[in-house]
């Protein structure tokens, strides 16, 4: 098997899953990243029992929602509508108008700072309250109240529109982290990539704690050393890896963090300064929308190391492609038989379970406080 080959060049890992994708050209690969899975299996068949976590989740890029623009969205197993009012603020509501059920994401209009339903022009504010009915002197009082079941708290940070999802409609318990590199004149605008992964949020997030897979799936030269820290709603790690470059193997450092369940970021240092801001949003309990937004130091990207800067992004995206091949068909193993050499997967799961709503997960609330090194 190819895994047994002594791997020297980390750019061309001769691993099995990549063989399925290497024949695809750039456009076909971009399509594959978003397409349904051929012969995909249901959440039940794959034992995906974990619920969708609560947290801040990316709805869209800020530049995808102009002033006066309306956008239909489908996340959290719900139909949603996002719009940006004349005041520049983004808002997110349940898409179905409570009056007679029209989908406001298709044909709805922005009226001032409100969304106007296409069916009878009822107007709703960002708190889910009816503020105007053009043909009626009165508004049903129950519709005039802000509605936490239908309205999502929204933040805008790092070039993304974020919405707070909580299945029991609890208020945000932490805030979205902001990064000074994003929008800084010394750093490039985002290079964007996206995937629809047919797997739950937890499995995708587990990737960072699964230190043994890097060699076998991604073909990195060695098992990386790492320090992982769990603290409240934040998980951070430093991973020291050997990265393949045209000039040979370079010692690189990857520092990553995740706030809550939906806001990971990664800083790559060593050969080309890169910040990867990730948006991970649950579409359903077994489907996840993943966005990678890269910004790089312009001095690296536009300078003599520009080729290397592009190669770094390409390699990271390739790793995600490789993971997706597995995630799309992976079964959830509730109590995995971990062996010596596996990463701190159980610590990770105990951390992640704090983001599941409901009394059965209460004992995980507040997270764990732990550092793990190798």
């Amino acid at each position: 098997m190819s895994e047994a080959v002594d791997i020297r060049d980390t750019r061309t890992p001769p691993v099995l899953v990549w063989d399925q994708l290497k024949k695809l050209d750039k456009a076909a690969l971009a399509r594959w990243r978003l397409e349904p899975v051929v012969n995909g299996r249901s959440a039940e068949e794959r034992n995906i029992t974990v619920p969708m976590p609560f947290g801040w989740f990316v709805m869209c890029y800020s530049d995808e929602l102009g002033v006066g623009e309306v956008k239909p969205l489908h996340y959290f197993e719900r139909e949603l509508v996002a719009w940006r009012g004349e005041d520049g603020e983004a808002r997110v509501l349940d898409a179905y108008c409570p009056h007679l059920g029209a989908h406001m994401g298709y044909g709805g209009k922005v009226n001032g700072n409100h969304i106007q339903c296409p069916l009878h022009s009822w107007q709703w504010n960002g708190h889910g309250a009816a503020v105007g009915i053009p043909y009626s002197k009165t508004i049903p009082p129950a519709m005039k109240r802000p509605c936490r079941e239908r309205a999502y708290p929204v933040r805008e940070a790092n070039g993304f529109v974020w919405a707070w999802y909580h299945p029991e409609n609890e208020a945000p318990s932490y805030e979205v982290a902001e990064f000074e590199e994003v929008g800084h004149p010394d750093w490039t605008g985002y290079e964007k990539h996206e995937w629809i992964v047919h797997g739950p949020m937890q499995t995708i997030a587990e990737n960072g704690a699964d230190s043994a897979h890097f060699k076998y799936i991604h073909g990195v030269a060695d098992y990386p050393d790492y320090d992982i820290r769990f603290e409240g709603h934040r998980r951070t790690a430093e991973v020291r890896v050997k990265m393949g470059t045209p000039r040979g193997t370079v010692d690189g450092k990857i520092a990553y963090g995740v706030d809550g369940s939906g806001q990971p970021w990664t800083r790559f240092t060593g050969m080309c300064e890169t910040l990867l801001v990730t948006g991970v949003t649950p579409v359903a309990r077994d489907i996840t929308h993943l966005r990678f937004a890269f910004t790089q130091l312009k001095a690296d990207r536009d300078g003599p190391r520009g080729g290397l800067a592009r190669a770094v992004i390409k390699d990271i995206c390739k790793q995600l492609d490789q993971d997706k091949v597995v995630w799309d068909r992976q079964k959830y193993i509730e109590a995995p038989p971990l062996c010596a050499g596996d990463g701190p997967i159980n610590d990770f799961r105990n951390f992640f379970r704090q983001f599941y709503a409901g009394p059965e997960w209460e004992k995980y609330r507040g997270g764990i406080r732990r550092s793990v090194s190798r």
């Binding site: 009165t138 049903p140 009082p141 129950a142 519709m143």
Partner: protein, 105 residues
């Protein structure tokens, strides 16, 4: 069975018999008193608005928060007489109640 005295929008007087416990709006609607009752009794539309005779108004109790919110938007609102009849149940105490159907808005 309690009796309700109703003056319709044309000024005609009617006597309706209403079972105890019934919703006054339904009695007026089913008696063809010109009540639209569009929302069916959810305190949402205000089309069952009536003006209670001042002698009887106190006996109907206080308007609820949503009811107040709705009727106060109407042109025919009268703080000392306005009630949404979907919010009133017929009782022995209201036997002889006298009201006027409010003008169409």
């Amino acid at each position: 069975m309690p009796t309700v005295h109703v003056t319709d929008r044309d000024g005609n007087a009617h006597r309706l018999h209403a079972a105890e416990g019934s919703v006054l709006m339904e009695v007026l609607r089913d008696g063809d008193m010109g009540i639209e009752a569009i929302c069916g009794g959810q305190c949402a539309c205000a089309t069952c608005h009536c003006l209670i005779d001042p002698d009887w108004f106190g006996k109907t109790g206080a308007r609820g928060g949503d009811e107040e919110d709705l009727v106060s938007c109407l042109d025919a609102y009268d703080a000392g007489r306005s009630r949404l009849t979907c919010q009133l149940r017929v009782s022995a105490e209201l036997d002889g109640l006298s009201l006027t159907v409010a003008p169409e808005e």
